[in-house]
């Protein structure tokens, strides 16, 4: 036993409605000193449960039911110590510390950040109160918190999300632990902030020789940062190897399927995503053979007899739990090569404009005081100009607060823009009154981000989908209504027999299909998709992307696809619009934007998004930008990006650059061009 941390055959059970089931089953892993290890898996795969169980932090109704955990320097199995024992508490925070996903809720709102960091230092070191305060301020400086001495007395809510996560890192690192566990630590942050933080974690880990365990669902992140990777699915360890081997000598069918299902930033335009059919198993109904069996394209009858969850070494240092031999996998792979997944759907684009937005501006007034006096304005979006052709997909990308959603609502005419024109199908709808919009409403619809809260929990699927048929009087009678609803269900790949169910009886992917069917019901010319897949699991995302693409090929509909994930946007869009703090920074066709980004912000954004391929990652040039997206209330004068821009000049600070065409449809708002 020579590893820093070793987990063997860990089993954790959860109790639900009187029944016990295993959340993780016989999971083993190890970490060595100074190493960065990634654990990837979809939600519910048991990656967080594994780490929480190792530290005995699993909360009721969960219970660690078996296994061993060894930490260097301690002879005994850590699980033999009680959860609240002195030894375990010394290890938690002192030798293994953890940072969590939600920076907004992971810090105590009624205690100062200084207290919270210092508490950890005092607990695990022999330092005096004063020395601990010094160490705390050093830790805050290490994570680049400006004015650490003053900020020591601040409360968490006085910091932005990225800053809070820095404080979490400072807190975790202050007692010099041996291992840092980062549980989806950057998932909730903007992509540029995410890149900054992960670079920082890597730097600190290497400087202090701390091992890092990165838990994430993002294959790109582990490709960029991890040295060794574990892949989990359905509570089982599926495959582990060093980073390059995982991506280039992929053994397990699940990992292979995952890599074929996710879009990449460097994809050719016509790549088709091959979705993984079906849904991940519910923990309580998991089979005792391979949990991926039902969705696996390589499965054979032998899999059903293979109930041993342990991984076997298939190549030096490369372990897999799949029972198929290399020859069998290769033979099946050969067959799959010839399987017809259907070509990338052919899309009919016309030159006719579906939507033409000119100089749209929307400010929101800010009221204050007893008399609700107007004291200012939130400049949500301004000078927005773009167009969308019929049958085309325009991707809109930008970080939080950039006005994506305000823009969508203006186009939907849920808001009336203060200024500008919104020409839809040849008619300006920007300033029409509600009753004049009747003819416009059915022509445009929307798909929302959260499939859980965007469907009425008390309405059944049929009436959710069919409601707008009735509102817009698109059907003559009951029979035609039923016919249309059934058609819509089939169109989104669902069985019309399910139409009596209510929203909570469907899975996330199915709900999003219902959302799409609802959007399609009025035969719109355009659908605005506001982050339609970001709440879904990786293996489900591809299904929805393909569905949207097929619908477009069939009906010639236009999409505005809003997302923060540039890889997905690039996959689905024809042209991309980049927004920052309420302004358009750049518009270009997909390939042009990716190969030749002009705006420094676009360059930074592209560079911040990792590609799930370690070899490509090594060859990429890293552009990191300073700081975080400022609040929309504090938009800098001149170019909104100037205070973070590496190429900022005096002119940028004074004058806002206008959007202008540099060549063939490539528009940019930057003084350099």
């Amino acid at each position: 036993m020579s590893h820093l941390l070793e987990v063997r055959n860990l089993v954790t059970t959860f109790r639900n409605e009187g029944k016990e089931f295993n959340a993780i089953e016989g999971v083993s892993l190890h970490v060595d000193r100074g190493e960065i290890v990634g654990i990837v898996g979809e939600s519910g795969s048991g990656k967080s449960v594994t780490m929480l169980s190792s530290l005995q932090l699993i909360a009721s109704p969960g219970r660690v039911a078996g296994g061993e955990v060894y930490l260097e320097g301690i002879e005994q199995n850590l699980l033999s110590f009680g959860s609240d024992s002195e030894q375990m508490r010394q290890i938690r925070g002192g030798r293994i510390s953890m940072i969590f996903q939600e920076p907004m809720t992971s810090l105590n709102p009624v205690l100062t950040v200084g207290y919270q960091i210092q508490e950890n230092v005092l607990l695990h070191t022999d330092l005096s109160q004063e020395e601990a305060k010094k160490r705390t301020i050093e830790a805050m400086k290490m994570v680049n918190i400006p004015d650490a001495e003053t900020r020591y007395d601040y409360y968490p809510q006085q910091f932005s999300g990225g800053m809070r996560q820095r404080i979490m890192i400072a807190m975790a690192m202050a007692p010099n632990p041996d291992i840092l566990i980062a549980d989806e630590a950057t998932t909730a942050l903007d992509v540029t902030t995410q890149a900054q933080l992960l670079e920082m974690i890597r730097r600190i880990a290497k400087e202090t020789n701390t091992a890092v365990i990165m838990i994430t669902h993002n294959l790109g992140l582990v490709a960029r940062y991890a040295e060794r990777i574990y892949v989990m699915y359905g509570g089982h360890m599926m495959e582990t190897a060093d980073c390059k081997s995982i991506f280039h000598e992929t053994r397990h069918p699940y990992t292979r399927a995952l890599l074929r299902a996710i879009p990449r930033l460097d994809d050719p335009k016509d790549r088709i995503l091959i979705p993984i059919d079906g849904l991940p198993p519910v923990p309580s109904q998991r089979p005792d053979y391979c949990p991926f069996y039902a969705r696996c394209e390589y499965r054979c009858d032998r899999c059903l007899q293979h109930t041993d969850a342990a991984m076997k070494e298939v190549l030096p240092g490369h372990w897999s739990s799949c029972c198929l031999t290399e020859e069998e996998l290769a033979a099946r792979e050969e067959e799959l090569q010839h399987k017809d997944y259907g070509a990338s759907p052919e899309r009919k684009q016309s030159d006719k404009l579906c939507l033409d937005v000119k100089d749209v501006r929307k400010y929101f007034p800010v009221y204050k005081g007893l008399l609700r006096k107007k004291v200012g304005e939130v400049k949500a979006i301004e000078d927005i100009t773009f167009f969308v052709r019929q049958g085309e997909t325009l991707g809109v990308v930008g970080e939080s607060g950039c006005g994506k959603t305000t823009l969508a609502r203006c186009i939907m005419r849920m808001y009336e823009p203060d200024e500008g024109q919104i020409i839809f199908d040849g008619e300006d709808v920007a300033h029409r009154k509600d009753n004049e919009l009747k003819a416009f409403r059915p022509k445009i619809s929307m798909i929302f981000q959260d499939p859980f809260s965007s469907l009425d929990p008390r309405q059944n699927a049929e009436s959710i989908v069919g409601e707008s048929l009735l509102i817009h009087k698109l059907v003559k009678d009951r029979g035609e209504y039923a016919q249309r609803v059934d058609d819509l269900f089939r169109k989104v790949g669902m069985d019309p027999a399910l139409k009596d169910r209510v929203a909570h009886e469907f899975s996330g992917g199915q709900r999003q299909r219902i959302g799409i069917a609802r959007a399609l019901s009025s035969n719109p010319r355009m659908i605005i998709c506001d982050e339609p897949i970001s709440a879904l699991d990786v293996s489900i995302q591809a299904q929805i992307i393909n569905l949207l693409e097929n619908i477009q090929a069939e009906t010639g509909i236009s999409y505005i696809f809003i997302a923060h994930d540039l890889a997905v946007v690039k996959h689905i869009s024809d042209r991309i619009l980049v927004m920052y703090l309420g302004r358009v920074m750049e518009i270009a066709s997909c390939d042009e934007l990716y190969e030749n980004p002009l705006h420094p912000y676009t360059q930074a954004l592209l560079s911040a998004i990792p590609v799930p391929d370690p070899v490509t990652e090594e060859g990429r040039e890293a552009i990191t930008i300073q700081g975080e997206v400022p609040s929309i209330l504090k938009r800098p004068t001149g170019c909104p990006f100037h205070n973070r821009c590496p190429q900022c000049t005096e002119l940028c600070k004074k004058e806002t650059p206008a959007l202008h065409e540099t060549r063939d449809g490539h528009m940019v708002a930057c003084h350099q061009y």
């Binding site: 530290l55 932090l57 909360a59 609240d84 375990m88 508490r89 010394q90 290890i91 938690r92 925070g93 002192g94 510390s97 953890m98 969590f100 939600e102 809720t105 992971s106 810090l107 105590n108 709102p109 009624v110 205690l111 100062t112 508490e119 950890n120 607990l123 695990h124 409360y155 809510q157 006085q158 979490m168 807190m171």
Partner: protein
């Protein structure tokens, strides 16, 4: 911070002004002739005339209100008609008794309620939790006067352990005072203990699920520290609101309890004043209760700022 307190103070004064006007009006609108009620009707026309002008009945109600308000500011709330003394003096004699009981009951119920709440939240699902929750649920719905009569029946009449009524101050006769106040205090405090227990339990359970508690546990803190330092302060926020309400409720509750145990406090005074249509006294009592409630709310708001830094920042 100072600005915030001044703002709250201003709002409190405004509320008081409105409340006092409404109570004045309400009492004024009572059916029946106040002069007749006061004197029992057997007076000469001349006396009636004199009293009519003495009580400013010839002036419009708004003017009378302002005259009364002016008096209130200078400590003159008029004459009580049933006691034939100044209202201020009558109330002044009774207020300390009510305050003594209410504050004492409050001081008993807050720590006990919080303690029981923590115990049942931390040991969720255990026998202790079930017992505490069940008792608290039953106790919140027991009416105070019913409890009073029940206690009196058991402890005074059946067991004979405690005196059934009366009130003396502890410095007059310490042992008797304690024996006399046990039952009224229990009546006043039980509802408070129960509702604070319930609120503490539910907000503790809510807080314990929060991410920052997981963070605190992942640091290796002792469970006690996690609960008392990290969880309790957050869990107390809704409890503070409730405490303010309970203190106000206890002053209101004293109306019943004082009547049951024959205690010469504000509560019994108010009941007497209403039944004898002693209008100046009713107005004085209601005004004082309104002032108490407003001050308690003000204190609650200020305490809030100290416990929850989010308010200070925002």
């Amino acid at each position: 911070m100072v600005r915030y307190i001044l703002q709250r103070l201003g709002q409190t004064l405004l509320v008081l002004l409105i409340v006092s006007f409404l109570t004045y009006l309400l009492v004024d609108f009572l059916p029946g002739d106040p002069i007749a009620a006061m004197t029992g009707g057997e007076i000469s026309g001349e006396t009636y005339e004199r009293l009519f002008y003495e009580m400013n009945m010839d002036k419009p109600v708004l003017v009378r209100y302002f005259l009364w308000l002016k008096g209130a500011f200078t400590g003159d709330l008029g004459m009580s008609q049933s006691y034939h003394r100044r209202v201020v003096d009558v109330i002044g004699e009774r207020v300390p008794v009510t305050l003594y009981l209410s504050v004492l009951a409050f001081l008993i119920s807050v720590p006990l309620g919080i303690l029981f709440g923590i115990i049942s939240a931390v040991k969720r699902g255990s026998a202790a939790d079930t017992a505490v929750t069940l008792t608290a649920n039953v106790c919140t719905c027991l009416p105070q006067f019913w409890l009073g009569i029940l206690f009196m029946y058991i402890f005074a009449m059946q067991l004979g352990w405690l005196p059934s009524s009366g009130f003396v101050w502890p410095h007059e006769n310490f042992v008797l005072s304690i024996r006399q106040t046990i039952m009224p205090l229990l009546c006043l405090a039980i509802g408070g203990i129960a509702s604070i227990t319930r609120q503490t339990r539910s907000s503790m359970l809510e807080v314990i699920r929060q991410d920052y508690i997981r963070t605190a546990r992942s640091k290796g803190l002792k469970s006690k520290k996690v609960i008392y330092v990290h969880a309790l302060r957050n869990a107390l926020l809704p409890v503070i609101t409730l405490m303010g309400l309970r203190l106000g409720g206890m002053i209101g509750g004293s109306v019943f309890v004082e009547n049951v145990f024959v205690i010469p406090g504000m509560g019994s005074l108010l009941v007497n004043a209403i039944s004898s249509v002693d209008i100046p006294l009713v107005q004085g009592c209601v005004l004082l209760i309104a002032v108490f409630s407003c001050v308690i709310n003000l204190i609650t708001d200020i305490v809030y700022v100290y416990v929850d830094p989010r308010i200070k920042v925002a």
